[in-house]
Symmetry: C2
Subunit: 367 residues, 2 copies
């Protein structure tokens, strides 16, 4: 017997919030300088919410796999602005989402809001929940008369969906102005990797470890995690090498390649980045521990071998390169690592915070 | 433009795992003593996966709200057995699930597996992911020739769904026997409360804080969290008071009632439990901090008042009752509490672990 029961009728805390009872002004980041987009490096060139520049579309489409689909995911993107608005809504139009069972829609296709007087005071407010049967949604973050002061608003983009349009709705009479330098520190940290880098399976965008690192270290972090498709292709290295003002590269793609593929790609990938950035720190980070390593001796042995290989890559390169480092990914989740994944593979929010806390310390030392 | 993209084609780590290439024996807990069900107190009386006894169905149905729907959710339930099987599958038939956007299906309607030589060595293995468009699913936890020894298996039931049937599939030639006393310590800890108590929005059943406490303290924990419906009804206290061998009651229902309702119910609720259990420890736990308390002074003030009220209830009762305690829920998420929810209200897995670690220390002292 299947009964259809609406959670919002059972528990009003689970209601999806989308009243529409006020006149608002709607701001489109694509044609307004009142808000600013961060974390999507070519946004102000192509005016689309993609992770790669338009000029590389053909190259990426010709690669095997689904990189072309994933580059259109918005992981790592944010919108920031100052305002004293007492109302904040968004209207979102997605071109697709993945409908995965082990990642909530708030993380896959929702936005989340951080709010505070300044960057250093930003605190999580709430995430957008919506009827995920639709590809268009409206969500009210707040409607609160108590707000008087100017706040910094930071809205994080979805991790596993493509956004065609997002409109920001504020009170008609509210003050709003853009934040030209959201991150206190100059330069970009470029993360390249897998589904885990992309943010699978964070419960909301701000929990993804690259976003946590961005908030904690105060650097813009560009997310080039490509679920199942972080395969170390030289075409990708070429694109990453063209990003301007890079402060550091963090490479963490082991989980997406067979050992042979890793051996075939890692040297050239690093060499390509070095052509443009001869001295910027590069961290080669191995895989976190998956459930099978915990339970099966044969897996543990294989993982040890692949980690050792990466350690040796760095050792070898270090002979002529003073700015390359190895980080042992098996340490990222700490001692109770088996509690920090959703499915034995992808971190839950506990896992993402653990990764962030560990890796940001290492990053900070090497910057 | 909406494109339909299957995540399993993009990233094979996201594949739903349900091969069917072996002869298995299928065990139904309702008619086999090879496995044992824990955490659903009346299972061996009614042989259904409910949280309340069948004899109270009419009473519960007549209450306002949706308690009747939620008592049929399986939060807190587990199946345990020993086996050396090299294959473990489940077949599940749900009568409903809620399809919430801010909680993954692995938590809402999936099972998760803990595996180890003994209770104290149990470690998370993985959770069942499935096609959530269907109400019946099959999932393969493992098919691994490397397994030779007898392992303890603990499968946690879904947190926000109703299970009509679950069948356990193991190798035909495997040894299997039941665990008659899964929990090292005797007696049950009874948790009563809200969606947060029920486990919303944990990424998998084993992340719910009552399940974490059960594993860490080694007591069977009965979960009577009722999303939006933990309203302190005397009929519920009556049912809870009839549970045998209770070691402790933890009451945490503030978030589901208005202040007036709390004042009207809390005294009688506790008094009812005291009729059967005059000296068993009772902890009255106030609400965790929600996002609005962090951002709005008026909310902070109200919350402070309601917490003070509960503290005073305990103070008053303590004059004649040596086993009643107040616990300040605002401390459950620690200092970075704003990062520990999915939506500003419901804990993510980081939040649930924080709650568990804090509350289990307090519980252990009072047991």
């Amino acid at each position: 017997m299947q009964k259809k029961v609406e959670i919002s009728k059972v528990d009003e805390n689970f209601k999806i919030n989308n009243q529409d009872n006020k006149n608002l002004k709607w701001i489109n980041p694509k044609n307004s300088n009142l808000v600013k987009v961060y974390g999507l490096n070519w946004f102000y060139k192509d005016f689309r919410y993609h992770r790669f520049p338009k000029e590389t579309d053909e190259t990426i489409k010709n690669l095997s796999g689904s990189l072309d689909v994933l580059t259109a995911n918005t992981s790592g993107g944010s919108i920031a602005f100052y305002s004293n608005t007492k109302t904040l809504k968004i209207k979102v139009k997605l071109s697709y989402m993945f409908h995965m069972g082990h990642m909530p829609y708030t993380g896959q296709a929702g936005f989340d809001l951080y709010l505070g007087k300044s960057f250093n005071e930003l605190k999580f407010y709430r995430s957008s929940n919506f009827d995920f049967n639709n590809y268009e949604y409206e969500f009210t973050f707040f409607e609160n008369a108590e707000i008087n002061d100017i706040n910094l608003h930071m809205l994080n983009f979805p991790l596993y969906a493509s956004v065609d349009e997002v409109l920001i709705g504020i009170d008609e009479d509210a003050t709003i102005y853009s934040e030209e330098n959201l991150f206190p520190n100059s330069g970009k940290i470029v993360f390249y990797g897998t589904s885990i880098t992309q943010g699978g399976c964070a419960s909301r965008p701000g929990s993804s470890y690259t976003q946590v690192v961005a908030r904690h270290l105060g650097y813009e972090c560009l997310n080039f995690g490509f679920s199942g498709n972080g395969k170390g292709q030289i075409e990708v290295a070429e694109i990453l090498s063209k990003i301007e003002n890079v402060k550091m590269f963090v490479l963490n793609y082991e989980a997406n390649v067979y050992f042979d593929q890793l051996k075939q790609t890692v040297w050239n990938f690093i060499a390509k980045l070095r052509e443009t950035y001869p001295t910027v720190p590069i961290i080669l980070m191995s895989k976190i521990r998956f459930f099978d390593e915990n339970h099966f001796a044969s897996v543990k042995k294989t993982e040890h071998m692949i980690r050792t290989y990466q350690r040796n890559v760095v050792k070898k390169l270090s002979q002529t390169d003073n700015n390359i480092y190895y980080y042992d990914g098996s340490k990222l989740l700490g001692s109770d690592f088996e509690e920090k994944t959703v499915d034995g593979v992808h971190p839950n929010d506990y896992g993402f915070y653990s990764i962030a806390k560990v890796v940001e310390k290492f990053i900070a030392k090497k910057l």
